[in-house]
């Protein structure tokens, strides 16, 4: 039943991802009426599925890879809906909805069967995970918004005429820039809170040796990169191509951090 909800959510994400294309790229606003409700419905089914899964398996803790992917997909879908509610823009959905679709598909069709390796303090760890995933999602949104900025800038410079492919997107350049910056500003406190909670728990449960693990060091490196990126963007008004390069670099660090989970000796909470 749980997987059924998730598969339904995947189907709806797919529909939303397709419907958003004419709405954003071809200036066909009526397609919004499919894309946005489909995403809302998908997020609801996704939430139900995730809650049921976590409730049944791990005392409400997403520790297994596919559960984390699923939760990240849900946060990204919610980010898209938030941006739509605030700016009435669906352009971000061009990237966000396919990513949410893919992540949810992985979870829906290849469910993991791992369990918790040891009893842990569920409440705080849950916050730690959710805050960090929100920070990653914010970074992804910022990177995608920077890419969108680049696309919009190119389209405006190309001076294409009329409607359709290559005409300017429905979202103004400055709005896209605001989305990119504000998502970073939202992500930083999330990442800080996530790291703080994780550090306190680790210090109490494992001691100082925990902080010499490469995965943990890389995570702190990511936090510094996050701060540096916000500082550079605000100080120099970095936009366009260079903003994409910077966001891509930090996103690369995120991927390393994510991958480092596989090699970390201490940051493992599930067993097959």
């Amino acid at each position: 039943m749980t997987l059924l909800w998730l598969r339904l959510a995947v189907l709806l994400y797919g529909i939303a991802a397709l419907a958003v294309l004419p709405a954003a790229l071809y200036d066909r606003p009526r397609w919004r009426h499919i894309a946005v409700p489909a995403t809302i419905a998908a997020a609801l089914f996704h939430f139900v599925s995730l809650t049921e899964t976590l409730n049944a398996a791990h005392h409400r803790l997403p520790v297994e890879t596919h559960e984390l992917q699923s939760l990240l997909a849900l946060i990204l879908a919610l980010a898209f809906l938030l941006v739509y509610a605030r700016y009435r823009s669906v352009s971000l959905g061009i990237f966000v909805l396919p990513i949410a679709f893919l992540l949810a598909t992985l979870a829906a069709f290849r469910p993991g069967e791992q369990t918790l390796s040891a009893p842990i303090r569920t409440g705080w760890i849950f916050l730690h995970i959710v805050f960090l995933l929100a920070a990653y999602a914010a970074l992804v949104v910022s990177l995608l918004a920077s890419l969108l900025y680049l696309i919009q800038e190119r389209r405006l410079k190309r001076k294409s005429t009329g409607h359709g492919w290559l005409s300017p997107l429905d979202t103004p350049l400055e709005t896209i820039d605001q989305i990119a910056l504000k998502s970073l500003l939202f992500g930083l406190p999330c990442m800080t809170a996530g790291l703080l909670i994780g550090s306190v728990i680790a210090q109490q449960d494992y001691g100082a040796k925990y902080f010499t693990d490469p995965k943990i060091l890389l995570t702190f490196g990511l936090w510094l990169a996050y701060i540096a990126m916000i500082f550079i963007r605000r100080a120099s008004g970095l936009r366009g191509r260079r903003a994409v390069y910077l966001s891509s670099f930090v996103f690369l660090v995120v991927l390393f951090v994510w991958a480092a989970n596989q090699f970390s000796a201490v940051h493992r909470f599930s067993i097959p």
Partner: protein, 478 residues
């Protein structure tokens, strides 16, 4: 019922508007008597629409019939008081003057046409001879009048197809006509339907979604870059009419700081003063339509030799000088962007020769549109409106049918009711006559007999009327 006519074809003089007039003529399709009868406002009278527009009359004629808003109520009242006219509405815009009336059907029968009333009104009210007007007038009746009104309200008959003002103007005319009591049971629902059709056309097609004038295209592009223009600074370089128009559009959209510069300082000061006056007038005339309308817009004159020092303050640079050489080079763009910490700048170059080096468009954050670029965007939008207008015409055609069907159903109801009343009266009188005869013969109906006779006659009447009522309903549906 008469067919749609144009007045006295022999009077048509070849004018420069002749091709457009032929186009109008082709629109005046002959309505078959059957369909016309079906389309009539039977209970209210005949719907007659007479008017001139930009395709049938030159400005010299249109301006003689133009009615300012202040006189619209008087004109509508006067028209409604003409003999034979039951309801009236006058629509007067810069491109058209139209008189929409519901006329007594007896007028048609007496004269063969309902137009003489209107022609007399035009002649008396505007002091324009019939000979001057008639070659330019068009007349639509019933179905075609409904269709024409729907097309006008939906902006399909406008000079710039899809322009949004016309619907507001029709609504204004309707409001005035209601105030003076000139619209009632026939025109009221027709106008309400016209507004609904116009709304449907706007919602279901993209006929009005894009700008088609240079100034509004420039504003649209600025919005694609900056979103809201509220709080944005505009630098106007050179004092031309186009700059003035575009500046006005930008102010209406919320630009709050206008910098003006010109080689001749006095002209710059003059233009700044004009813009300040416009803002003052705008504020004095109360809240304007745009929700981002100028509230606290300031103007400032900048000496021309300080242009490079001050230009970085501007988000939008609107330039139209007569300079032989470009004023803004790529290097200037880079310098401005550095000083603005990469905040984008939009250059609207409507000068010929161009004031902005096209290479500046390659600078990240600088967007340069010259007059050709703007015209191409406007032309593409116009072509798109043309494509969308086909879909809009289909909506109008369907809506005309729906409206007329409803009208006919409504018209059939009184006939059905009258027939039923007549049959019932006949039945009652026959029963009373028979009851009186029997009473005179001292053999009156018993209550049981009377009840049986009542039931029998009711049943007979209903069965006899059934085919006729069905035929009436069917005919009205057809």
């Amino acid at each position: 019922m008469s067919q749609p006519t144009q007045h006295q074809p022999t009077q048509h003089q070849p004018t420069q508007h002749q091709p457009a007039r032929r186009q109008t003529t082709s629109r005046l399709s002959i309505v078959s008597p059957a369909s016309e009868a079906a389309a009539s406002h039977a209970s209210e009278g005949s719907l007659v629409l007479v008017g001139i527009n930009h395709t049938t009359a030159p400005i010299e004629v249109r301006e003689r019939l133009a009615i300012p808003l202040a006189r619209l109520a008087d004109a509508t009242r006067t028209l409604a008081q003409q003999p034979g006219i039951r309801e009236a509405l006058v629509l007067s815009t810069c491109n058209r003057v139209e008189f929409i009336t519901i006329q007594d059907r007896s007028q048609d029968r007496a004269t063969g046409s309902a137009t003489p009333n209107l022609l007399r009104f035009l002649h008396e009210y505007f002091a324009v001879s019939a000979a001057t007007l008639e070659p330019h007038l068009y007349e639509f009746r019933e179905r075609e009048a409904v269709r024409h009104l729907f097309r006008v309200a939906s902006s399909l008959d406008s000079m710039v197809v899809g322009e949004p003002q016309i619907l507001g103007q029709v609504k204004e005319s309707y409001s005035v006509a209601r105030q003076v009591g000139a619209v009632s049971t026939a025109l009221d629902p027709l106008l309400q339907r016209a507004f609904a059709v116009a709304k449907r056309v706007r919602t279901e097609t993209q006929i009005g979604s894009s700008s088609v004038s240079i100034a509004s295209v420039a504003v649209d592009l600025a919005r694609k870059i900056f979103g809201s223009l509220h709080g944005k600074t505009v630098l106007i370089v050179g004092a031309g009419k186009m700059s003035d128009l575009a500046a006005r559009h930008l102010i209406q959209q919320g630009a709050t700081s206008i910098l003006v510069t010109n080689r001749t300082h006095e002209r710059a000061a003059q233009m700044a003063a004009q813009i300040a006056n416009q803002i003052a007038t705008q504020l004095a005339s109360g809240p304007v339509a745009s929700d981002t309308a100028a509230i606290a817009c300031t103007t400032e004159v900048i000496p021309f030799d300080q242009i490079y020092a001050q230009a970085a303050r501007a988000d939008i640079v609107l330039t139209s000088t007569g300079s032989e050489q470009p004023i803004f080079l790529r290097s200037h763009g880079q310098s401005f962007l550095e000083r603005r910490r990469n905040r984008p700048m939009f250059f609207i170059d409507i000068a010929v020769p161009r004031d902005v080096d096209p290479l500046m468009n390659q600078v990240e954050g600088c967007f340069v549109y010259d007059i050709d670029d703007l015209q191409q965007v406007a032309a593409a939008h116009l072509a798109n409106r043309g494509r969308e207008s086909a879909a809009a015409e289909n909506i109008v055609t369907r809506e005309v049918e729906i409206y007329l069907e409803r009208l006919q159903s409504r018209d059939a109801v009184p006939a059905i009711v009258a027939l039923q009343h007549s049959a019932e009266a006949l039945r009652q009188s026959e029963i009373e006559r028979t009851a009186a005869k029997l009473a005179a013969a001292a053999e009156p109906f018993t209550p049981a007999q009377l009840s049986a006779v009542e039931a029998l006659t009711r049943s007979l009447t209903a069965k006899l009327l059934h085919p006729q009522l069905t035929a009436l309903r069917k005919k009205s549906e057809e």
